[in-house]
Amino acid sequence: MEIYLPIAQMPVDPLVVFAMGALVGLLSGLLGIGGGFLMTPLLIFIGIPPAVAVATQSNQLVAASVSGVLAHWRRRNVDFKLGLVMLMGGGVGSAIGVALFAKLKALGQIDLVISLTYVLFLGLVAALMMIDNFKVLVLRRNVAVRRKLHEHNALHRLPLRMRFPRSRLYISALLPLGIGFVGGLMVAIMGIGGGFILVPAMIYLLGMPIGLVAGTSLFQIIFTTGITTFLQAITTHAVDVVLAAVLIVGGVIGAQIGTRLGHLLKPEYSRLAHASIVLVVAVKLAWDLFTRPENLFSVVTLGN
């Protein structure tokens, strides 16, 4: 059976899309990541036009992050004040990102920019996580214990210092604003929530308590993905609700199963698995950029 996607203007097998949603949802529940960085390439792989994949993925992420935040909220693991400050940066980031996306698409370089940013960010994050894991698993050094409450770095002393009682932080508001901004840009350009870069940034740059990081990043991801979905809908008209609906159903079911399985997995192994997946995706994308493509040509049909 196949269903016709009204915006992508092509038929897909809903079972395949459902399975993709469930698989990525499972991993995201299991490892505590958004999974957008896996979903966008998968959608493009099954033939969905990149613009539709990115725009629709942001819609799907709204549902995934709402369902995730609920679980964290019940455990009081969300720092709303910090989240709101990040959000301000995020709103600006996603507005600029959507405009940039349209511009780059017209220039024919959007695919390159997507690949390059993926390789850059994924590579960076994978490297950081791998180093950390190496310390924990091989050198048997506990990273968390080493810290006092949190470490201060030079960035914390930038102007506009603000108190964040929930996280017990007194740091420059520019820092969460900047992190939110980068997150917003990534949602718009790469169609991902950006959790994989926000989470390490919040841990390493802000020095937030680890327990609050996932809930707070998801909280602000709801809004950046929401703003992006809306902006994509009114500028590129590339949000496919039929595709999003199938992905959402698969995704939420997978995520709930993943969360339950996640308790069986030791955190250091789950971080290692996360880092490995990020690394594999980064290496694959880098490989595609640096080796001669099988087909040098690509064709874009304008309008319809």
Binding site: Q9, V241, I253, P293, T301
Partner: protein, 243 residues
């Protein structure tokens, strides 16, 4: 079936009148794309009162197509050069009663744009001959891989001396818009009679509704997509909490 018999009768009657040497019609002039659309088969029936060969050219709505070519810069493969083809057919399929080379000389086929080698593809800016050929071939190959251009020639079969038919398949990814189905009667390599039949491909029902709302009421559509996603996320969290 009754409609068919009637259509046939009309066609046969038409073929007897002296004025018209060729007449043809499609089994349907509209292809509706619904949510369950998996492609459509149409039958073209026609009759001719003169001996000759039949060639049918189906062209989809014209559109601008950009072909990009990757090149290496600093070790990275990126899109370097491009060509825009103005008013390229979005769909192009040929059916004929004989192999094209047996029907007419290449220059005649080219004049009437019959066959994949002769599709009219006009670049918006002048290109060097070698580049033109390269970009043109790339466009045709790309359209062929998604089954919107077809290299082969579908058969046109004669049922007796005057009546002919051709089966045409339109895949599920067929672009929407108005198509032209050109039926040509060739005798000794020259076109002696021609008839063009229109065909409309459009989204209908739910998938059309979604498309129209997404484009004409974009803000409403965006808001709807958001509300749906928030509700789905909330519901999932609430349901699984109890499980």
């Amino acid at each position: 079936m009754k409609g068919w018999a009637l259509a046939l009768l009309i066609l046969l009657a038409g073929s007897r009148s002296e004025a018209q040497t060729l007449s043809a019609d499609l089994s349907s002039h509209v292809i509706g794309i619904t949510t369950g659309f998996v492609g459509a088969n149409l039958v073209l029936f026609g009759s001719t009162d003169k001996p000759g060969d039949i060639a049918i050219v189906v062209r989809g709505p014209s559109t601008d197509m950009t072909v990009r070519k990757k090149g290496k810069i600093l070790g990275v493969w990126i899109n370097r050069s491009s060509a825009v083809f103005h008013d390229a057919p979005s769909f192009y399929v040929v059916a004929a009663s004989k192999p094209l080379s047996d029907i007419a000389l290449p220059e005649n086929l080219s004049r009437h744009a019959i066959g994949l080698d002769n599709v009219k593809l006009q670049p918006t800016e002048p290109l060097a001959e070698k580049d033109f050929a390269e970009f043109r071939t790339a466009l045709i190959r790309s359209q062929e891989t998604v089954d919107l251009y077809r290299g082969g020639v579908a058969p046109v079969t004669f049922l007796g001396e005057h009546l002919f038919r051709a089966d045409m398949f339109f895949p599920a990814n067929v672009p929407t818009g108005s198509y032209s189905v050109e039926v040509l009667l060739l005798s000794n390599g020259e076109v002696v009679s021609a008839q063009t039949t229109p065909l409309i491909v459009s989204r209908i029902g739910f998938s059309n509704g979604v498309f129209v709302v997404a484009h004409r009421h974009a803000a409403l559509y965006g808001a709807g997509a958001l509300i749906f996603a928030i509700a789905a996320g909330w519901a999932a969290g609430a349901i699984f909490r109890r499980v």
